[in-house]
C-alpha cells in the first residue's frame, strides 16, 4: 500500500513546499517538514534537489515560469497595461507561495538559467505592451511610465496580500486593480480604462 517508490516525488515535494510557504513563509521552510508532508524520509530530498537552496531555486523557477506564461497571455492580441497588471495581481494571489518566495532572492539562486529565461519572457511581454501606448499615454519618458506601472502593480499586489487594503477596497482584487491602474492612465485619449 505504501510503495517503496513514490512515483512522482519531485512535484509532490514542490507542492508541499508551496503549502508550507503559504503557512509559515519562505524563510521558515524546512526540508524535514517537507519530507513529513510528503510522507517520505527526509534524506530523499537530497536526491531530487541536492540541498535546500536547490529546492527553493527549482520552486522559484516554476513560479517565474508560471508568471511569464500569464504575462504572455495577457500581452498577446491587443494587450493593454491593465491586462498585464490584472494578470500580475492574479498570479500573486493564486500563487501566493511562489510569489512570496520570488520576492526573497536571498533564499535561492537568482542566476539560475531557468529563472533568467522566464524573467526575460516577462520583460518581453511588458515591453510589447508598453510599445502599444500612445505618446499621450506614455508621457515624455517611456522609462518613467514603465517604472510607474511596475511599481504600482507590484506595490498593489504586495499590499493586497498583506491585507493592508481590504478595509478600503473591498474583496475583489481584479476590480480594485482595474480601478488603481485606470487611475494611473486616467483622462488620456484612448485610455485603457475607457
Amino acid at each position: 500500500v505504501t510503495p517503496y517508490h513514490h512515483g512522482s516525488l519531485r512535484p509532490a515535494l514542490l507542492a508541499a513546499a508551496v503549502d508550507a510557504i503559504v503557512e509559515h513563509g519562505p524563510g521558515a521552510l524546512s526540508m524535514r517538514d517537507l519530507a513529513r508532508r510528503a510522507g517520505v524520509s527526509h534524506a530523499a530530498l537530497t536526491h531530487h534537489f541536492g540541498d535546500r537552496a536547490g529546492l527553493l531555486t527549482a520552486l522559484a523557477g516554476e513560479g517565474y515560469g508560471l508568471l511569464a506564461d500569464a504575462m504572455e497571455r495577457a500581452a498577446s492580441g491587443q494587450g493593454q497595461p491593465l491586462d498585464l497588471a490584472v494578470s500580475y495581481v492574479r498570479f500573486a494571489i493564486d500563487h501566493r507561495g511562489h510569489f512570496e518566495l520570488m520576492n526573497r532572492p536571498d533564499l535561492y539562486n537568482p542566476a539560475d538559467e531557468r529563472i533568467a529565461v522566464a524573467q526575460h519572457r516577462g520583460e518581453a511581454a511588458l515591453s510589447s505592451v508598453m510599445r502599444t501606448l500612445t505618446p499621450e499615454q506614455v508621457g515624455e519618458d517611456p522609462v518613467i511610465a514603465d517604472m510607474a506601472l511596475r511599481s504600482l502593480t507590484h506595490g498593489f499586489a504586495t499590499l493586497w496580500l498583506q491585507q493592508s487594503l481590504t478595509s478600503l477596497l473591498g474583496d475583489d482584487p481584479e476590480a480594485a486593480t482595474r480601478a488603481v491602474v485606470g487611475f494611473l492612465f486616467r483622462g488620456q485619449p484612448g485610455s485603457p480604462s475607457a
Copy 2:
C-alpha cells in the same frame, strides 16, 4: 575597562539588530548573534526584551515611529503627495533594516500599542495631504487615488531596495521618486510635479 554594566545596552542592542537585519534579513536575526555584536552575554537580552518577539516588536515600533515623524514633517505646511512619497522612499533607504522588518509582521506583534499609535500618525499625515488635492487631481473616487499613491510609493521603495530598478533609473532615488509620482499626477492643473 569592560564594566559589568553596559550603561546603555538596550539602544545598543537595537542598533546591533538593525545591522544584523541589513546583513542577513529580519528572519535570520538571532538573539545570540546580537549579544555577540554588543559584547554581552546572550542571557542579557531577556532582561530588556523578554524574548525574541519582544525585541523585534520594540524595533518595529521604533521604525514606525521614525516613519511617522518623517511623514508628519513632509505633510506639514503645504505638503504635497510628492513630498510624502519622497520621504517614504527616503525612509526605506535610510532605515532599510527597520523597513524590512516592518514588512514582516509575522515576526513581531503588530497589535503593539506603540506600533498602532505610530501607524495612526502616518495615516493621519497621508489623509491630510490627500485632502489638499483638487477634484481634478483626485478623480472620481478619493479612495482610489489614495490606494494608487500608496501602492506606487510602496512598490517603488521595495523594487528600489531589491535593485530591480537601478539599471533603468540610475542611482538617485529622490529624483526617480519625483519622476514616477509626477507621472501618477501628470497633466493635471496645479499638478504637484509642476
